[in-house]
Every structure is written in structure tokens, then in C-alpha cells.
Amino acid sequence: MQYLNYRLVIFTLVTVFGIVFSIPSFLQTNDGKKISLGLDLQGGLHMLLGVETQKAVEGKIKTLAATVKYFTDNEDILIEDLTIKKDNLSFILLDSDEVSKLDTMLAEIKGLDISKGADFYYTIKLTPIEIEVVKDMAVGQAVETIRNRLDQFGLAEPSVTRQGNNDIVVELPGIKTAQEEQHARELIAKPANLELMEVDELKSDQVYNLSDDDAQDMGDIILEDTNSAEIKYLLKQIPILTGSEVVDAKVAFDQQTNQPIINFTLSSFGAKVFGDFTAKSVGKRLAVVLDGKVFSAPVIRERIGGGSGQISGNFTVNEAGNVAIALRSGALPAPVIMLEKRSVGPSLGADSINASMFALVSGFVLVVIFMIVYYGLGGVIANIALITNIFIIIAVMAMFGATLTLPGMAGIVLTVGMAVDANVIISERIRELLKSGASIPKAIEDGYSNAMSAILDANITTLLVAVILYAYGTGPIKGFAITISIGILASMLTAILGTHGIYEALMPKMVKDKNLKKWFGVK
């Protein structure tokens, strides 16, 4: 008896593997690894964001200016004309005795390119290496920040990953409606740059007569009120504190107006800077600036210790929540822009699944019937291999945690059509040999070996194309390349090895039976 042979054993093992590992995906059980559906099938939002890293460099210069100002104020070192240009800051040191003190402080900050002109005119730039570091960190930090925000937003399985140098891929499968999507986008886009700035009380009354350039020449900046573009403030360009010192932010309600407000808490360093500033600025106004808009500018009545403050404005509860999340999760070090967006509603995804499943099933049934009609029991054997092939595709994809996309579904459908190719080639060869008078065992043995070179060539070319598609394709197209590749590789096991094993096991029967019509569909 020849029932057991190594080919059949391998095929059976592979089939069991295929069925076992594809069960979680078919039945959608909670345990075990499943295929995850691509955003085009389950619905969701895919975005490619770009980080404007140049802005991060500018931000770094601004923070540096604040540090220099705080240090010199504290140490009573006189400087003047502290100004910020795009990529540098400059000032004149008036106390020439203090050069060494200042230089020691600056030397402690890494990555600065300091040049001193006549009269202690300092120009400070970032070194090219430092600029690269800042840009790189900006993208890394943006990824972290966006991830934090989305986590707090409460969506299922948000994925935020860096792509290349400057880009970030955001995938949100949980998005159901356009409103929800817009909400998520706003949350991501919110720079959440909190700045506490000093109102330039000396020139404040001229604010409506000044141009932006005039203000810049005086080391000031003009910002609008959040509620009305008519109201403007003249602020010192260099902030007292930036949002990087915020450690916590919560939504609360104003006790008098019952309006939502945001309470924030500063780090201990921030609290010290804030306390020192308020102590010596009693009677002046302090502007709370969020993303370039002034939210409030209360007069400082006394030193504010404890390091907490609040932002009030005409927030809705939702907006206030967004701002709080954004502040908590940190500011975006640089603005992000949208380079590409693909959003699919869940109903369209469901339609796509239904349509492609229908195509898969009907294509499958057609092929199965055709093979049986044409090749008789040989067709049945090929069909067993085909079914196993589909199980293996599902199982392997589930094991590797691959994503099934719409083109991926098309790939499976196409595999159904192409995977029987090997069996067609083999069966044709067997038929030829049978007609030339070979015995059944000989026809099968030689049929398989004669067909091998053609099958290998055919599979290798398709595989090569699939690999190129994988390397150069994006998103869903990669899914197509994956399913096609797995399908081809699996067909080597099922269509070649598996069917051969089944033929061998059935050999005694076939030899006894001698019914070529029944077994191979020929007379």
C-alpha cells in the first residue's frame, strides 16, 4: 500500500497549518493572530504629514533668546538690542567686565556658533550639526506628541510612525464620520504653543499705528486678540516662558461665568522664572498667548508663586478639551502640514469587502467547476490544492500580522485564477504522455518532471514582479504584492507537491481502475 508518502505528509501538515491559523481570521475569534483589515476595507483615515522643520530651528532660537534674557536679567548683566532674526539672535553686551561670565554661560549650551563683532556685538547661530539635530528631534517629538494626543483622544489603535526624514504617517482606523475625522485632524494640527509674554507698556498705546516691521525693530511683536482681530497687543518679542515648561493642563469652569477654562501647571524651573518675573513686574500686564493669539492680558497684582495659571477665552467645552490635551501632550515643535490624505468611510469599506468577497467566491466557484468538468477527478485534486492555497494565504498573513487591503483581496482572487495554472500544465503533460501510451504511474511521474521547468519559470517571473511592486508600491498596493507572493509560494507546496502526493496515494486505485476518462478527463 502506497497511501502514505512524504509529499502527502508534507501537504497534510501544511493544510492543517493553513486551517488552524486561518480560523481566528475567518471566525473573528478573540484569541490568536488575525488578519487586520486595511483602512480601505474597514474605513478610517490615513494621512501623510510633513513637519516644517525650519520652524523648529526658529523656535529653538527663540527659546535661546529667552534663556539669554533670563540669565542676564538675573545676573544683572546689561545687554541691549536683543533681537531675533530667522536663524540667529544678536545683542550688544554693555558690561565689558562680564564677558567671561556670559561666555561661560553660553559655552554650557551645546551646538552654538557664536561670533563676536566690535563693541561686544554678539551674533549667535546654531551650528549646521545642531540644526540637523534640532530638525531630527522636531520630527521625533512631533511623532511622540501626535501619538500622545491621539491616545488621549480615545480612538482605537491609532498608529503614528515616522517615514523618511521629515514625514509622519498617521493611521486612524476608528474614524466613523466626517465630523470625527475633522475633530481628530484639528487635534493633530493644534500647535499648542503656549507663550507667556510681557506687554510692552511703554509703547503700548501706539500699537494701532505700528507696522509689523516697526514692532520688530523695537524688539516687539504685534498679536491679535483671540476674540477679535480688531484688538491688538504690543508684546515683547522674547517670551518669558514657553509651553515646554507646562507639565499639566486641565479643563475647569470659571466660577463666575461658568465658562470652560484651562488650568495649567508649570515645572519647577518654570514656576521659578514665572515667580521672579511677576515679582518685579507688578502693575504690568502679562499676556497669555496660545498659537499666536492673545487669550488674556491681566494686570499682575502681586508675585505669583506656585507655578500655575489659567487660559480663559470663549472656549466651547470641546475646544477647551482639545487645548488641554494638546498642552499636556506637549507643543508641536514645528507646524505639521498635510501631504496626503486618504479617508474611507466605514460603509464604503464594508461595500468593498462585500463586493470583493462576492467576486472571490464566484470566481472560485467558476474555476472549481471548470476544473472538474475539464479534468474529472484530476480537477478535484487540483481544487483541493486550490482551497488549501487560500487557507495558507490567510494563515501566513495572519501569522505575520499583515494587512488585507482591497488590492490584496484582488490579489487573492487573481491567485485563484493563476494557482491552478501549475495543475493545468501538469495535467496537460500527463494527458500527452497517456496518449502516447505511457502507463499511469509513468505518465504521472514524467508529467510532473516535464512540467517543472515551465512552472518554475512562470512562478519566478510573477514573483519578481510582485517583489518590485512591494518595493515600489505604497499602502494598499503592497497588500496586492503580498497576497500574490504568498499565493505563488503556497502554490508550489499545494499545486505541485500536494497534488503529486494525492496522485501517489491514489495510484493503486487508479492502476486498478484504468478509467482515464474518470481520472484525467480523456479517453
Partner: protein, 323 residues
């Protein structure tokens, strides 16, 4: 069941000129279409925004157009039906980099008076990404051709590789011609379909060529035409069968797979038909046109064999220490 009598040999090569002529006409027509009308690049490659909207009643296309034209950003919007009369696609060449409020949100508010609808898909591809995708696409296609060329020339004599590449160019240009003719939006999925055709059609051709090579090596016949006729006839059932099964599934995909992969399955459908036709009627004809000579080929093979034997003999002598 059998479609073709397996012992019958058809005289394909005797009629190769009419078939080559027919193919030439198709290819020329395809090129004319490509260079006059040109490919209709979709947003993946040209950049832009695509919005798919489904209404609960038949979509008021004219009203939508009128509303969109009023906003100068959307002047160039193209509104087309998509599958059912209730569903439309709006294509706009403009994009925005703003994350907080994007074109989709704007369109949503513009469409408010047109009835009850649901936005089912918004795709936006910025110009930078479009350029990158186009570059990648061209790269993928060229790389695929080069790798296939290398693989085939590694596997076969040079005339075989040239003939199969010619057959590929034939298939791809006709498929591209059909894409232009039927106004298919060329997006990433179409590129994937073209690459799949490339693999599929080569696959078909190689199986025929493999048989021809086998025929050249084993048969006593030295007339190329009859060897080719014999080989093509022997592989005829296989070629048609596999093509039929593939055709079935691609057809179901085209008919039932949904609007979104319609362009993809259409391209595959054309590719399967053209690929099958070319591997039966065209590829081998190229081989004959290239003056492939069986006698020379056999002489070269014999020479190779002789050299190999000589080398083996020398090696064995060397190993046995007789030299």
C-alpha cells in the same frame, strides 16, 4: 473534456504575417492614442483631491456642478457618476496642506443644500507626493522590465529574450491604449495592474518558449516553422485553459468587485486577453522573424556540450593525477 485535439498541429507560422500585421495596427493605434489623447492621470500621480459622495436619492449632478463653480478654488472640479446614479465622484486639481480644515470639509459645507448625502471617501494627494509616486511608478515599471530582461536572457538564447520582450511591449502598449480609449483614471492600482500583466504575459510566453526550446532540443525536425507550430499547438490547451480560469476570475472582479477596483480589473481583463493572444500568435512569430536558426542553435549547444565534456574529462584526469 478537451477543447483542442491534442494531436492536431495548427499552422500558426504560415499565417504569422496577417497576425503580425493585425498586431502592428493595434500597437500603432495604441501609440496614436497615447500621444494624442494621452493618459488620464489620476490624483495619485497628478496630485489633487477626490471626493466620493453617496446620496440617498439620485445625485443632482448639475446642481452640484453649479454650486462648486461658485467657489473659485473648485472651478475646475469634475463631477462624474460613479457606479450607481446615487453616487458621484468629485475631482479637483487643487490640494491644501492645511490639516485642521481641509478641502473635504469645505466641500461638505458647499454640498449641504444638495440633499441628504454621505461623504464616503476623500483622497488628497499633494503635489510633492504626486511627484514622488510618479517617480516611483516609472522606476518600478523600468526596473520590472530590466529584471525580466535579465532573467529571460539568463534563461534563453538572446533571440528568445528579444522576442519575449517585444511581445511584452506589444501587450503593454495595447493595454495602455485601451486605458486611454476608455478614459480610465491612471492611479497606483492601474500601475499594479500593468505590472501584473507584465508578469502574466511573460509567464504565458515563457511556457510556449520553453516548449519550443524543448522541441528544438529533442525533435529531429530542423525546420523552425514546424517545430514552433508543433510547440504552440501542444501548449495551446494549457494557454487557453489558464487564460480562461484567470479570465473568469478577473471578469467576476470586473463585474462584481465594485467601482473602486473597476479600473484595475478592466486593465487586467484587457491584459489577459492581449497576453493570451500574443503568446499564441505573436511571440513565436517574432522569434521566426528574428531568423532563429535551429541548425546553428544545435551546433552551439553541441559545442557547449563538447566543451563541458572536455572540461570534465580534464578535471577527472587531474583529480586522478594522470596529468
Amino acid at each position: 473534456m478537451e477543447i483542442f485535439k491534442s494531436d492536431k498541429t495548427y499552422d500558426f507560422m504560415g499565417k504569422r504575417l496577417p497576425f503580425l500585421g493585425f498586431s502592428a495596427i493595434l500597437v500603432i493605434a495604441a501609440f496614436v492614442l497615447l500621444f494624442t489623447k494621452g493618459l488620464n492621470l489620476g490624483i495619485d500621480f497628478s496630485g489633487g483631491t477626490l471626493i466620493q459622495v453617496q446620496y440617498t436619492q439620485p445625485a443632482p449632478v448639475q446642481k452640484i456642478r453649479d454650486l462648486l463653480v461658485q467657489d473659485e478654488r473648485f472651478e475646475k472640479a469634475v463631477v462624474t457618476k460613479f457606479g450607481t446614479p446615487k453616487e458621484i465622484i468629485i475631482k479637483i486639481p487643487t490640494t491644501t496642506t492645511m490639516l485642521g480644515k481641509d478641502i473635504g470639509d469645505d466641500i461638505r459645507s458647499i454640498l449641504t443644500p444638495t440633499g441628504e448625502y454621505q461623504i464616503r471617501r476623500v483622497d488628497m494627494v499633494g503635489p510633492k507626493v504626486g511627484d514622488a509616486l510618479r517617480e516611483k511608478g516609472v522606476m518600478a515599471l523600468s526596473l520590472a522590465l530590466i529584471i525580466i530582461l535579465i532573467y529571460v536572457s539568463f534563461r534563453c538564447e538572446w533571440r528568445f529574450s528579444v522576442a519575449s520582450i517585444l511581445a511584452l511591449v506589444h501587450d503593454i502598449s495595447i493595454a495602455l491604449g485601451a486605458i486611454v480609449l476608455f478614459n480610465v483614471d491612471v492611479n497606483l492600482d492601474i500601475l499594479a495592474a500593468i505590472l501584473t500583466i507584465l508578469g502574466y504575459s511573460l509567464n504565458d510566453t515563457i511556457i510556449v518558449f520553453d516548449r519550443i526550446r524543448e522541441g528544438v532540443n529533442t525533435s529531429k525536425e530542423s525546420d523552425l516553422n514546424s517545430v514552433v507550430n508543433d510547440s504552440v499547438s501542444r501548449t495551446l490547451s494549457r494557454t487557453t485553459l489558464t487564460s480562461l480560469t484567470t479570465f473568469f476570475v478577473v471578469l467576476t472582479l470586473y463585474l462584481f468587485g465594485g467601482e473602486i477596483i473597476n479600473g484595475f480589473s478592466f486593465t487586467l481583463l484587457v491584459g489577459v486577453i492581449v497576453g493570451t493572444y500574443s503568446s499564441i500568435f505573436v511571440a513565436a512569430s517574432f522569434l521566426v522573424q528574428l531568423n532563429f536558426s535551429i541548425i546553428n542553435y544545435r551546433a552551439v549547444e553541441a559545442e557547449k556540450e563538447k566543451r563541458k565534456k572536455e572540461k570534465d574529462r580534464l578535471r577527472s584526469q587531474f583529480e586522478q593525477g594522470t596529468v
